[in-house]
């Protein structure tokens, strides 16, 4: 580790002002569970920050509230442990609770935040596929004011997002769930826990009024592309069709085609592609059975 300045602003406005005043070379830090490791281990190629601005305790980033008619406002500094424990998340956005639950150890979950998980932009981020299928939007504040983006547009590549200098991810907005809908997230890891997703799959399904056909479908894949991605063609195969095992199987095969995995120390490309198939099928089945239970 090298020396850097560390700021603890009392408000979001102050945080934004610090970025303006100090200029380039600063980064927000929340739980630090990714960033501190990078500071220690990043080596020479890591763009070492000159200063860090703690956003961990800013009230605007700490919200976890249900707004009737709007949906869920999920502050960027809400921790994995808080998300997992939230009754509203468990009740209405189960995939997100399932993603938050598997991040790191208990100690990590108590520090790691959803904003950090997204801004670190790892293709394997466990909250990204759930948030993608839940229709999340990212609210960003910066020197040029506010912008609201669909989460799909947030990621640019491994470790890269649309955030520009001085911009802070404030919160994530989730629309209220549709009737007869449910979500699910699963990941594959060699170990039972304390691991990084080799493949992560989230699905969201909404059934029609008769409960027979699929009214809306979303599938998101983690760790099989430069960013977490939606499997749009697989989704299209589902909408308007009967919720049968054959249809789910077809979509799973399509999702395999939409993945563009690489080979690395965690798994080969062909293994990952294979897993996308079997896991998408399993996750769709899980989401369907949950939707039917509603």
């Amino acid at each position: 580790m090298r020396p850097f300045s560390y700021f603890i602003p009392a408000s979001l406005q102050e945080a934004l002002a610090i970025f303006q005043r100090e200029g380039e070379g600063g980064r927000p830090i929340a739980g630090g569970t990714d960033l501190v490791v990078q500071l220690k281990e990043g080596g020479h190629k890591f763009p070492y920050p000159r200063y860090l601005v703690s956003v961990r305790r800013l009230p605007e980033l700490r919200r976890l509230e249900w707004v009737e008619g709007e949906g869920l406002r999920l502050g960027a500094a809400v921790t994995m442990a808080e998300i997992e424990a939230s009754p509203i998340v468990r009740e209405r956005y189960l995939a997100l609770a399932e993603g938050a639950r598997v991040v790191g150890s208990r100690q990590t979950a108590n520090m790691a935040t959803v904003g950090g998980n997204l801004c670190n932009a790892a293709p394997s981020a466990d909250t990204a596929p759930p948030l993608l299928v839940l229709g999340a939007k990212a609210r960003i504040l910066g020197p040029r004011g506010e912008r609201l983006l669909p989460l799909e547009e947030f990621f640019l590549g491994p470790g890269r997002t649309v955030l520009e200098h001085g911009e802070v991810l404030v919160e994530v907005l989730l629309p209220p769930p549709l009737p007869r809908s449910a979500s699910a997230y699963r990941r594959h890891t060699p170990r039972q826990c304390m691991d990084i997703a080799v493949v992560g799959v989230a699905a969201f399904l909404a059934l029609d009024e008769a409960g027979e056909k699929i009214a809306e479908a979303r599938i998101a894949l983690g760790a099989v592309a430069p960013t977490p991605i939606r499997a749009h063609r697989a989704e299209a195969l589902l909408v308007g069709r009967p919720a049968s095992p054959e249809v789910l199987g077809e979509a799973a095969l399509m999702a395999r085609e939409e993945a563009s995995p690489i080979s690395d120390v965690r798994g080969s490309a062909q293994f990952r592609r294979y897993l996308v198939g079997v896991m998408t099928e399993a996750v769709l089945e899980e989401a369907l059975s949950r939707a039917r239970g509603r």
Binding site: H188, P190, Q192, G267, F271, Y274, V278, M279
Partner: protein, 765 residues
Amino acid sequence: MAEVGDVRKAFRHVGKPVPRVDAPAKVTGRTIYGDDLKLPRMLHVKLVHAPVAHARIKGIDASKALAVPGVEAVITAQDLPPHRYDPDNRTRVLLARDEVLFYGQPVAAVLARDPYTSAYARDLVEVQYEELPPVLDPLEALRPDAPLARGSVQALEEGEVGGHITVEGAEARKEEGPRNVASTITFKRGDVEQGFKEAAAVVEGTWRTPMAHQSYIEPHVIVADYDSTGRLSIWSSTQAPFHVRNEVAKTLGLPETRVRVISTEVGGGFGGKIYLYEALVGALAMTLQRPVKLTMSRKEDMLAATPAPNCIVQLKMGMKADGTLSALKARVIFDTGAFPGAPLLPGCLLIGGFYKCPNLEIEGLEVFTNKVSVGALRAPGAHNVAFALESALDMLARRLELDPMEVRLKNAVEKGDPLPSGQPYPAIGLKECLEAVAKSQLWQRRHEIRAHPNRGVGLAVGGWLGGLQPASATVTLNADGTVNALVGAADITGTNTAFAQIVAEVLNLPLEMVRVTTGDTDSAPYAGMSAGSKVTFTVGRAVKLAAEDAKEQILRIASQRLEAPPEELELVDGVVRVRGREDKQLTFRELGRWSTAFGGRYPPIVGRGAVAPRLQAPSFSAQAVEVEVDPNTGQVQVLSWVVAQDVGFAINPMAVEGQMQGGSTQGLGLALFEEMAYDEQGRLLNPNLLDYRLPTTADVPPIETIIVEVPSEDGPYGARIVGEPSIVPGPAAVANAVADAIGARVFQAPLTPEKILHALGKIKD
């Protein structure tokens, strides 16, 4: 076992479960480890680790690093004080001189006032490398046209291997024969070809186990201080303080007695903390005339310590229709990395050492590659060969429709059976371990388990012969009537607790009245290294003798004072009394005072014990494992695990069970997760505990332990070695369970989901 159980009743302390005496300090964070040490004016060193596997060093420019405020020095091989350099000995190549032989090899040392500055400046040292082709795969390395992994290999071949070849054949062998060979071993018995002819079934295969890291919690820590009188003190979390003293002295050209080694609390070693950078840190302290501390990070430790080798076993085995082994032919190849040190001998002895086999032929090769050189990992070499042997045995049993338990019981070695070297076994308990597992609930339920889809049960055995080394101890009586034992062995497994039990047993004291201290190499009575599972077995005997000697001295004085012959005296809780005469007694406290105070009339009580054991007490373990395999994802979940081990006599059953569970857990890790992965350039891809996976509590099932006690002929109270055997069967037991569950066999550890899907034909290359 019943007999031993009765013996146990006769004892007050030994044979009883006792929590480790050092546990409270450890779990409350109060134990002082090497990294807690701070000396005045101490510098912190970080090593520059080569980012290439094989290269010539063309130049080192340290100017940018030296410009960083707080940096005191950058030392390269040229700047070191004169020492005994030996290109063929890893520990005598303190820093790479001209050639880098493995990825992560230290090429320079950066010393600064704090570790952050030295780590930062370390990255600014510019080393120019001329890259050379790296030799990475041991089979490729053996090809006659392979490049050489290291320049000095030729000299080694002539010196060590060439010595076994007749003069006429030597030239031809050198040109056509395998390259990059560090050493070879051959064992032969009977006629293998005849044995295969007699076999009703023959199986053949190639089994691979990858490089694995010991993954102790505490990375290597060394502090060195060279004082104004020319004495070098070294604090090290080593398992082998006396060995470190001798090696440092030899390497740095100092008399042994000018080097003092203090073994700090070992935060896990498993064979990986014997001796590595102590001479380097000592040399730096001598050069700079200041104390120097090296605390390795996890990454540095994974790059540049001494992990366990990658091993390839080509094995062919034949079995008669009745289940008797008829022939075993094995080629065992250990990838030793860039320096010699692979466990070739134990690997080759043990592959032919678990079962009786009239005909065998074992060829062992230790091969150089451009990887970090290897060291010991709990029963070094044993799990690698057991993976092949125990898998092949199951395949033969299946082929002949025989029960895997029966086949093992039929062939298991017993007292008097020869090792491949011809040396006969002393009393051993392999059969008893198998019988214990056969009676376990898990084994009894196996048919029920197999009725579940994708569940299976696997069985495997493993053993370790154990080390021998002279050992000594003293037991002294303090002025307050308590007793101290002083030993020179680092306590890595709870041995000091066992010693306290032994002393308390001999002197019939409450355990709290005994304190055991590990001294440094200046103060402690000599003990060999804490390795080879032998500390309780060897040092324990010395402690027992020392306690008995102290008892005799106590009785001699008490006999005078109480005017009764020693035979009529008894020791009870720190009181010496005449049997049946409560009024005629004296206390240890009185004795302590009389033998220490001003004007005291008796010499201090100092018992001594010293032994040079010559007879090994090998220990075997049999293990059964239940797994469930997800046929869609290839994921293996271990559901239950039974381990039986023959420990001779469990002096502390609680510690023994902990060893058996710990070893089984490591076996599970080697079976399912652990692997140091290298890319085509020889760079380690996973120098961290995220991608080098150890099992978590969620991956490890409850482990049932069954202590088997076939007394050793020579150990204290019949105890034999304990620490190492329980790691050995794991990979084979899991592979056998997976084969039982899904009908497909994996020949390469760890058994990752990907390999299982390959074996099932669900994914293809």
